[in-house]
Amino acid sequence: MLNRIRHSLTALAIGVTLFAASAHATDITGAGSTFVQPLITKWSSTYAEKTGSHVNYGGGGSGAGIAQIKAATIDFGASDKPLSPEELSAAGLGQFPIVIGGVVPVVNVQGIKAGDLKLTGALLGDIYLGNVKKWNDPKIAKDNAGVALPDLAIQVVSRSDGSGTTFNFTNFLSKVSADWKAKVGEGTSVQWPAGVGGKGNAGVAAYVQQINGSIGYVELAYALQNKMAYTQVQNAAGKYVTPNLASFAAAASHADWKSAKDFQLVITNAPGDDSWPITATAFALIYKTPKDAAHSKEVLNFFKWAYESGGKEAEGLDYVALPPPLVHQIEEYWKAEVKL
């Protein structure tokens, strides 16, 4: 009897040792941008199946991600807004892009379907400034000859919570409208001159669907899921483009990453005939000289895996994987900057 117990205990001990050896899992934690949260969560579960390592991503917003990585309570942070090289070096952090997404204007005007309406960036700025008040304003009608524009007041919808979506949208408006830059500027939350604010992408989508004559801005996934009427927007090359994964990818590949130190580049208003002008990037923040090398190594392993095999999952959630030359540049950056 005693022997039996001893045998089974030995077997158990061996089993546990084997299991521990085979799993060899390093669990890492991240927090920040809610823009990439659905994707990192998806990547994380696939990655855990493949490697046994779990990536716990807490979301919480870019501000929270930056604060927590500076306070050294997480292994990586994620921000929608790139930090400046000065801020990074002051905190001992490195930065690189995670994935590409896009912000699209959506409208709720009877008779106007997805892709019908064409807007220039400056006009979008005028609408959000409250200068263009009616849908049949000559400024809108000028480039929309075939579209029936009603005599209806424009109701502007923005984000009430701070967000990377707002940052990229206002960054674009600041680049194309001097008036916007002077009066409002760019940021994760700004003082909106007109309209109402909804909480989150879902809140903006709901407001736009409820309010007749409204215009809002959401991530592409929300526009598609809710079957909303997104608009075309004129890009830096003067061409009107439709928001989709191809035009996001074009913007990402035309953007000038090579000369961006620490990848500090907001790719709105990117050059290229087929680039979507309000394309957005989410950035990962890591320690350059980590205290816990194993964890930081795992962070890089995770992103390396995501760049190589996470593209399909990204597309499924309406994100675009980084173009290969950019991935190569990021891996060089890791080698040069991160001391493991």
Partner: protein, 327 residues
């Protein structure tokens, strides 16, 4: 002999009993003292923590924080007037609607309703009080906002928009969102609280008082207004303030239907902001120290606003009691 012995033994037991009772009483007193003081400590801790967290904002903006309606995250200029205004206006609308309706519910249930109806309606009120506020918010956004936008606001615009004074309150875009919508949703949320308190206290009015009034020829309304309400006044006002407290601090439901913009406008049909909604919306992405500090300062102000409103209520109650005493 045996009688004496048993007597002494009883007195010995009594003494012991008295001693242990005394100890138990002392212990009990300490426990309930701790429970009582816990409230005070929590209150003071919350006040001090929010005051400390908001010190940067108070230092930088001073009194301007109270009367400025600027809320600019780019220039880091913050003022609390718009959210304070929105908080007070939505809570006031909520009470204006909720108090009469709650009074009606409570009166009907205690005086008029057939007995078989009283229990189920009473239970329904308590169930309503238990619904999470996010549910009210979603209902407000997806069901009530379109009704407001399509029917009620255009009607208000047409019929009241031209009236002097009132017109300023009831003219605005047919968004469906705004302070009036938020106030109505809040009213629906606080009605269960106020009406269940009212119902409970109306039941405590002695039947003989009411019967006497009826015997003197009083109508149901006269009995309710002149007998029931004066008898229960303190508790009724307590119930109203329970509802007011909830209306002032409500976050999720308000965020859904208020429109969340830092603008002051007289019109109730325009979007606004409330203190709790501002904090819930902006805290996660507050990316500078002064921004975060301003939000915590807002939390402190909500505390102060609630305190002032309750203090005014207590003063009013005391005045009323004084007047009654003189009569």
């Amino acid at each position: 002999m045996s009688v004496i012995a048993s007597a002494t033994s009883i007195s010995g037991v009594d003494e012991k009993r008295a001693h242990s009772d005394g100890r138990a009483d002392a212990l009990f007193r300490w426990i309930v003292f701790a429970a009582g003081i816990f409230v005070l400590i929590t209150l003071i801790a919350v006040a001090l923590t929010t005051l400390w967290g908001g010190r940067e904002a108070f230092e930088k903006f001073g009194f301007r924080f109270l009367y400025s309606s600027e809320w600019n995250t780019q220039t880091h200029e913050f003022g609390a007037l718009a959210p304070i205004y929105g908080t007070l206006v939505t809570a006031a609308i909520a009470l204006i609607i909720a108090v009469p309706i709650s009074f009606g519910i409570a009166l009907y249930l205690t005086e008029i309703a057939p007995p078989w109806l009283r229990t189920p309606v009473g239970a329904a009120i308590e169930l309503l009080a238990g619904i999470p506020s996010i549910i009210y918010g979603m209902w407000g956004l997806f069901v009530f906002v379109p009704i407001m936008g399509h029917y009620i606001i255009p009607w208000l615009n047409d019929h009241l928009g031209g009236v002097p004074l009132l017109g300023a309150l009831f003219s605005g875009p047919p968004l469906g969102l705004g302070m009036l919508t938020a106030g109505i949703v809040l009213a629906i949320m606080v009605i269960p609280f106020i009406s269940s308190v009212m119902r409970e206290v109306f039941l405590t009015v002695p039947t003989r008082l009411k019967e006497s009034a009826y015997a003197l020829g009083g109508t149901t309304w006269e009995v309710a207004w002149d007998i029931v309400l004066p008898y229960t006044r303190t508790a009724v006002i307590g119930g109203v303030f329970l509802g007011l407290g909830r209306a002032l601090g409500e976050t999720m439901a308000v965020t859904f239907v208020l429109g969340n913009v830092h603008r002051l406008s007289l019109s109730l049909l325009e979007p606004g902001n409330s203190i709790a909604a501002t904090i819930a919306n902006e805290f996660a992405e507050a990316d500078s120290e002064i921004f975060r500090s301003s939000l915590i300062a807002l939390a402190f102000l909500l505390f102060v606003v609630t305190f002032i409103v309750l203090a005014i209520a207590k003063l009013m109650l005391r005045q009323m009691e004084k007047r009654e005493g003189k009569l």
